[in-house]
């Protein structure tokens, strides 16, 4: 058995899950080494195992493929494996508790399960597991993170059940769970709509995104690094699997997300909240590329996804070090830190230059591909002209918000406190990722080679990032932003907290839950009361048959029940006096006189027989 065959028998999720279990019990250093080894395994498998389908088994009672390698899964596996190792090194220096690390590794294991899944059922299984494990990562920090984690869980629960519905409906429509068999992506119609909404929660579509800036700024700084990477990027890939041919609406949702995300990012004071809104904005580019659905669009989206794994984690790492050293989350309370923390400043600078797509850094290549896919001047269809401008506005907003973040954290005024720089683990984590950002930006042909559809792209010469036109565009963006920032800086700093949609959506979810729960319980209580009352009545009738008959007969019309009886009544009391001479307090019948006329008796008997007959014949 060759080494590659050996690798292909063990899906990456298994060793990572084992590492997760061990981290919780072995000494801290050993646990972190194990965690790093497990993520390295993910990288090696993605690198070495050739495309193909491995491990076709019976899973959950259905035929399933637990381990399918293709260009897409390889790309994601390489990114996640590399970043995972760097982030484990970072966490080792960040005092991340062992239990959190165990949850983080189980989270990475579920992500590995999603990206290598060959059928919707396996994908869904790990998708739900990803929601559970990431919630645990958040909860483990305690404090404010717990309640935010619960809101996160509800959001992902909604997304999860929608995807579940979509997947089962897809199965009913096409008769198989295998991805890409019988139907490209998810079956059209209701399953597609449900899938778009369900995956849209994880992809932070506008209106479904409130969990993102709510949750990611709250947990441990190292936990934020992991969270910022896995869920959203994995979901963008799943969105592609569901809609491999794209859709105009998806593309425009992406464009709007890019603009919406940067607008809110610009308004944030909390550094991690700012970065969180940028996750939404950057996902916008990916969703746009997937929505456009051409080879360059999809390849661009995947390239941007890969780069985003790296530079977004790098930015979270740099900001995490600032928080770790200063204990301050608010941007406006910081300043002049580049003298105190030059290593962190360099790490941040590389991340910022990558995300803003400055030539020479990785983001420039991938953002350029998505923009070209939308631009009718390059390879876009005419209906994507507006999308192109939305994405350009997003690009300017990205520049502005990272100039803002860098300016207030590292440049603005002298440092208020004297703090130490990054720890060794921080530095290793940040600089390895930063190096990758630069290498991918310069050796871009090697990078494009890794992408899906790369042969087609090279053949048609569609990727040429360092052409004069592209460099001019980048220069224009940079100049516009540098001119704009001083103008908006003062007014921007005066704006306090701006409410996002959660202001409306949270109460809406809350009161929908409360009202529907009250409605259900009250209905149930009413049914219960009615049932109990009926049973009580029956008991009473059983205990007091004479009284019961008396009450019924007293209500019968006189012609039916005879002549001489009302209640008090049903008993024919000769006098109102008791035998001992006392007054009868409440007349109760001691004897019952039931005298029906002969006609009435026959009528009653016939009625009863008719009912019996009716029941026998028709039921």
């Amino acid at each position: 058995m060759s080494p590659t065959e050996l690798l292909s028998t063990v899906p990456p999720a298994v060793p990572i899950l084992l590492a997760a279990l061990l981290v919780a019990v072995v000494p801290r250093t050993a646990g972190y080494v194990l965690g790093a080894l497990a993520t390295i395994y993910l990288f090696v498998v993605s690198w070495a195992v050739p495309p193909g389908e491995y491990l076709s088994v019976l899973f959950l009672g259905f035929d399933a493929q637990l381990f399918v390698v293709d260009d897409f899964a390889r790309l994601l596996g390489l990114g996640f494996g590399f970043l995972g190792t760097a982030a484990v090194a970072y966490s080792a220096s960040s005092d991340l508790p062992r239990t959190t690390m165990a949850f983080v590794l189980s989270y990475i294991a579920s992500v590995a399960g999603v990206i290598f899944a060959g059928d919707w059922l396996t994908l869904l299984f790990f998708w739900e597991l990803m929601a559970v494990t990431s919630t645990l990562v958040v909860w483990n920090y305690g404090g404010d993170a717990v309640r935010a984690g619960y809101r996160y869980a509800i959001a992902h629960g909604i997304g999860g059940v929608l995807v579940l519905w979509a997947v089962t409906w897809h199965y009913v429509e096409v008769g198989t769970f295998f991805i890409g068999v019988e139907a490209a992506g998810i079956a059209p119609g209701a399953p597609a709509l449900l899938a778009a909404l369900g995956i849209g929660v994880n992809c932070a579509f506008i209106g479904l995104h409130t969990w993102l800036p709510d949750t990611y700024p709250r947990p441990h700084i190292a936990a934020s690094v992991f969270l910022s990477v896995f869920t959203t990027k994995t979901s963008a890939y799943v969105l592609y699997q569901a809609f491999p041919e794209g859709h105009l609406y998806l593309a425009y949702m992406g464009g709007l997300m890019a603009v919406y995300g940067v607008c809110f990012a610009l308004l944030q004071h909390d550094m991690r909240a700012l970065l969180s809104y940028h996750i939404q904005a950057q996902l916008g580019y990916m969703v746009a590329g997937i929505g456009i659905g051409t080879a360059i669009g999809i390849a661009g989206a995947m390239a941007h996804l890969f780069n985003n794994i790296l530079y977004k984690a790098l930015l979270f790492m740099a900001v995490g070090v600032i928080i770790y050293r200063t204990g301050e989350e608010d941007l406006y309370e910081l300043g002049g830190l580049w003298r105190e923390m030059p290593l962190t400043a360099v790490g941040f600078l590389v991340g910022a230059l990558s995300i803003t797509a400055v030539p020479g850094f990785s983001g420039f290549i991938s953002k350029g591909m998505v923009l070209d896919a939308a631009d009718p001047g390059y390879y876009g269809a005419p209906e994507y002209q507006a999308l192109y401008w939305l994405l350009m506005i997003g690009a300017v907003g990205t520049f502005l918000s990272f100039i803002k973040l860098g300016y207030y954290a590292f440049l603005h005024g002298p440092a208020t406190t004297s703090v130490k720089d990054a720890k060794p683990g921080h530095t290793v984590g940040m600089f390895s990722v930063a190096a990758a950002c630069i290498v991918l930006g310069i050796a871009w042909t090697t990078f494009v080679d890794l992408l899906p559809f790369s042969a087609e792209l090279f053949e048609e010469g569609q990727v040429d990032p360092y052409s004069v036109g592209h460099l001019t565009d980048a220069a224009i963006l940079l100049v516009v932003s540098v001119v704009l920032f001083p103008i908006i800086r003062k007014p921007l700093s005066k704006i306090g907290h701006v409410n996002d949609m959660d202001r409306v959506l949270n109460p809406l979810t809350f009161y929908t839950g409360r009202v529907s729960m009250l409605a259900v319980t009250e209905t149930f209580a009413a049914v219960d009361r009615a049932g109990v009352a009926l049973v009580r009545k029956c008991y009473w009738v059983g205990n007091n048959p004479v009284l019961a008959v008396g009450r019924v007969t007293s209500r019968l019309p006189p012609w039916l029940g005879g002549t001489d009886h009302r209640f008090d009544g049903g008993s024919r009391s000769i006098s109102d006096r008791r035998s001992d001479g006392g007054q009868v307090a409440e007349p109760t019948p001691s004897r019952l006189y039931l005298r029906a006329t002969i006609g009435g008796t026959i009528l009653l008997i016939v009625l009863a027989l008719t009912i019996v007959l009716f029941v026998l014949v028709f039921l």
């Binding site: 959950l60 305690g142 519905w165 409906w169 008769g175």
Partner: protein, 190 residues
């Protein structure tokens, strides 16, 4: 639930699965599967607060959950304090140290309960009102968490649930279900 979801939609005559097994209208099929979907979501809404209260909130920072009662965002005190009752329906300790149930024995119907309450009283001498003790819960290792007479059955059932969930084809129980369905309806379970 997978099977019920698929069966519900298929019974509504949807897709290739419903082509020859429709027994109700598509709307009914959607309502059928939709109610399962909603129930899945409600499971998170109702049960997860139990998990995070038990394992992730700290003793000195937890709240009464705002599901049916309490304002949005919860109330930072124990449920027992907020509603003035213990979780078993009994009343909390009086100020003078006696149990309300001692003064009004009819509040408690079973002797067993009463014994339990007294035992509790002796365990922790301060009178906390339904919440965790002020000095925090006693920390125990997994091996000494409880008596094995409790842990073994719990562990067995939990393991069984996971096994039946992940490899139902290898567990006999599922074969039995498939057999019954085939015998009764003549339909072959996919």
């Amino acid at each position: 639930k997978y099977y019920m979801l698929i069966g519900g939609l298929g019974a509504g005559g949807l897709g290739v699965l419903g082509a020859d097994s429709a027994v109700m209208s598509p709307t009914m099929g959607v309502i059928f599967s939709g109610s399962l979907i909603v129930s899945g979501l409600l499971n998170i809404a109702y049960f997860w607060p139990i998990v995070y209260t038990a394992y992730f909130e700290s003793e000195n920072r937890h709240d009464a959950k705002p599901l049916l009662e309490f304002p949005m965002g919860g109330k930072t005190e124990s449920y027992g304090v907020s509603v003035g009752r213990l979780t078993d329906g009994g009343k909390p300790v009086d100020e003078d140290g006696g149990y309300a149930v001692d003064q009004y024995p009819s509040d408690h119907t079973t002797d067993g309960h009463d014994d339990h309450d007294h035992g509790h009283d002796h365990d922790d001498h301060d009178h906390h009102h339904g919440g965790p003790p002020a000095e925090g819960w006693e920390r125990r290792t997994p091996w000494t968490e409880s008596t094995w007479l409790m842990m073994v059955p719990i562990g067995l059932i939990a393991t069984g649930a996971v096994v039946l969930g992940i490899v139902p084809g290898q567990a006999i129980f599922f074969d039995l279900v498939v057999y019954i369905v085939e015998e009764v309806t003549g339909e072959v379970v996919p």
